[in-house]
């Protein structure tokens, strides 16, 4: 069974640009979560999508946004990139049991 897949693996952008990250959940999982992990810092909750709706949001500015598609895949958009947005962005999916299954992440570097 395929796990959570994320693309791209690496992304390099410059300040002010926009970045789009994509995530495909495990088959049968309807919830998708996005986390940010900056170097040396812990996982910070960004967004939770379930059944196509945004269910919860972390303490991040509005330039962090996303959506979930009818096939439950998701994308995370980061507008007006800043240097401090450089981080590993992790996507996870789950059923109702609570366990999160993470992808390998997308490493975003902002120059």
């Amino acid at each position: 069974e395929a796990g959570v897949t994320q693309s791209p693996t690496h992304l390099i952008k410059t300040r002010g640009q926009q970045a789009t990250l994509r995530c495909s959940p495990i088959s049968g999982h309807t919830s998708v979560y996005w986390y940010q992990q900056a170097l040396g810092l812990g996982l910070q909750f960004l967004l939770w999508y379930d059944e196509g709706e945004e269910r919860n949001r972390g303490n991040f500015p509005p330039r962090f946004s996303g959506r979930q598609f009818p096939n439950y895949s998701s994308e995370l958009n980061v507008n007006a990139l800043e240097l401090e947005d450089s981080a590993l962005y992790l996507c996870a999916s789950s059923e109702d049991t609570g366990e999160l299954f993470f992808g390998e992440g997308s490493r975003l570097t902002v120059l």
């Binding site: 959570v4 919830s31 979560y33 986390y35 810092l41 812990g42 996982l43 909750f45 939770w48 379930d50 269910r55 919860n56 972390g58 590993l88 992790l90 996870a92 789950s94 109702d96 049991t97 609570g98 366990e99 999160l100 299954f101 993470f102 992808g103 390998e104 992440g105 490493r107």
Partner: protein, 110 residues
């Protein structure tokens, strides 16, 4: 306010030297405490879920226990392949907004 605190921040062990990691939490009405393992540059890998005080779960050389205020991850006779950062997480506001601890980085040397 920190609701999940892990200690120590880092742990260096000799192969075979057993030790324990701590995860303390302050949320009330715990809906579960989750342990994950994360290798450098990769996504966390789910290990255990504990739901009630007194519960224990085991997987190979790892054993997780839960009390009303903290959880311990015991590593028995560790091997170098157990080197990783171990994270604990709780859902203080219900599913969807898990709060992760900062993690304990474990290095096991031969």
């Amino acid at each position: 306010e920190d609701q999940v605190t892990q200690s120590p921040e880092a742990l260096r062990l000799q192969e075979g030297e057993s030790s324990s990691l701590n995860c303390s939490y302050t949320v009330s009405g715990l809906r579960g405490l989750f342990w994950y393992r994360q290798d450098p540059g990769k996504g966390p890998e789910f290990l255990f879920t504990l739901y009630s005080a007194g519960e224990e779960k085991e997987k190979e050389r790892l054993k997780a226990t839960l009390t009303k205020k903290e959880s311990f991850l015991h590593i028995t006779a560790p091997k170098p392949e157990d080197s990783a950062t171990y994270l604990c997480a709780v859902p203080p506001y219900g599913w969807g907004k898990f709060q992760f601890g900062a993690g304990t980085q474990v290095v096991v040397t031969p």
